[in-house]
């Protein structure tokens, strides 16, 4: 016998619903979030590069090979 999933009587509120904002608030919010995103992206890129270079120096010792 097929089971049917019960349907909620009304939509369940989630934390992801967009928050209504005025134009000024939206612009300010996006500006601040963009600055955080750019900083995070740069920080992560630096971490990736640093770990890669350190692994070359400390790990396989590629940079320390005799010529």
């Amino acid at each position: 016998m097929a089971r049917t999933r019960p349907q909620p009587a009304e939509p369940v509120p989630t934390d992801h619903e967009p928050v209504p904002m005025t134009e000024e608030e939206r612009s300010h919010f996006h500006q601040q979030r963009r600055s955080r995103s750019v900083a995070l992206a740069v920080a992560l890129a630096v971490v990736v590069i640093l770990f890669y270079v350190v692994s070359l120096i400390q790990g396989p010792g590629i940079l320390n090979r005799p010529m």
């Binding site: 608030e25 955080r36 900083a39 120096i57 940079l63």
Partner: protein, 330 residues
């Protein structure tokens, strides 16, 4: 909470967004959590400790070590701002910091501080060595827990004992290079340790009302104005010869000897002026000593750095006598 019924806040669009639980912090606010001005001193002293060591690190590894120490220092600053948000809010000097101003939520500051603490310690351990990583972890713990959470609100000796956390970076830098400790970095730590009380008490004299309102038992609020000024003078008397000691023991060169002797003498003279100043001249004298103390410490460590760099680049070993280096431990 939704903004449906909220009226637009023309003066500060962040306010209603924060009330809706949205982060309005910019990257600049997170940078402010790291206390960049304190970090600059940490970077300088750690760099001097690292370069003074008798072992030369690969330049990239040296950069990573200094970066980790700087991030660790910044992380402890973020944890300090998270915990002290209540007292920062009632003090004029700190009310505009990211947490009391509302730009960064307390839980965001806490998460930021914890993540960076763990990241800096683990990265230093993996990339350099675990001895320096352990010392960095201890430094963060000492500043965030021993000083911020315990000593700061409980004793007028808060800055004397807690100052050790700010003094440790040269030793961490040295350990990053060598994996051990020696007399030379311990001397650098001692100089910063002895410098901290007169530096902060000069500021505390200027901000005594602020500290009193916040309930922080700084020395001027507990022991009084006269006693604090006397103690500043005593610390200056101890600091001046200590500052010259690296040159006397052969760890630093002639230029350092001159800078530390003149700087120490000026420090003592200004501390004496503060001690003898009338009540109306007190703030001016305290302000001058505060400024001089910053210049003094930067001058000592910049001179050490310059001497070391010049002797390395031009091979002028005579500029930096290296006798009497006593290595302790592995």
């Amino acid at each position: 909470m939704s903004l449906t019924d909220a009226t637009p806040n023309v003066a500060d669009p962040s306010l209603s967004l924060r009330q809706a639980g949205l982060s309005t912090a910019s990257a600049r606010d997170y940078l402010a959590l790291l206390k960049p001005r304190v970090m600059s001193l940490v970077v300088l002293t750690a760099l001097v400790g690292l370069l003074a060591a008798p072992v030369t690190l690969h330049p990239v590894l040296a950069f990573v070590a200094i970066l980790c120490i700087a991030i660790g220092a910044g992380a402890s600053g973020a944890l300090n701002m998270w915990y002290d948000a209540d007292i920062d809010a009632v003090m004029g000097r700190t009310a505009s910091r990211p947490v009391p101003s509302g730009a960064v939520q307390p839980r965001e500051a806490l998460a930021f501080g914890l993540v960076l603490s763990v990241f800096s310690v683990i990265t230093l351990g993996l990339a350099i060595n675990w001895a320096s990583a352990s010392f960095l972890a201890f430094t963060i713990f000492f500043y965030a827990v021993v000083y911020t959470m315990w000593l700061k609100r409980s004793t007028p000796q808060n800055i004397v004992i807690g100052g050790a956390a700010g003094a440790f970076p040269p030793a961490v830098g040295w350990m990053a290079a060598t994996g051990s400790l020696a007399l030379e970095p311990i001397l650098m730590v001692a100089i910063i340790f002895m410098w901290t009380p007169p530096h902060f008490w000069a500021l505390a004299l200027l901000k005594a009302e602020d500290y009193g309102r916040a309930g922080v038992p700084m020395m001027p609020n507990v022991a009084g104005d006269r006693s604090t000024r006397l103690q500043i003078f005593v610390y200056a008397l101890l600091l001046a010869p200590l500052g010259v000691l690296p040159a006397v023991l052969g760890y630093a060169g002639a230029v350092y000897a001159l800078v530390s002797a003149v700087g120490g003498a000026l420090f003592v003279v200004q501390a004496h002026r503060l001690m003898k100043a009338s009540d109306q001249d007190r703030n001016s004298a305290a302000g001058k000593l505060f400024g001089l103390s910053i210049t003094y410490l930067f001058a000592l460590f910049l001179t050490m750095l310059a001497e070391d760099s010049i002797s390395r680049i031009f091979g002028l070993e005579w500029l930096l006598p290296s006798a009497l280096r006593i290595t302790v431990g592995g």
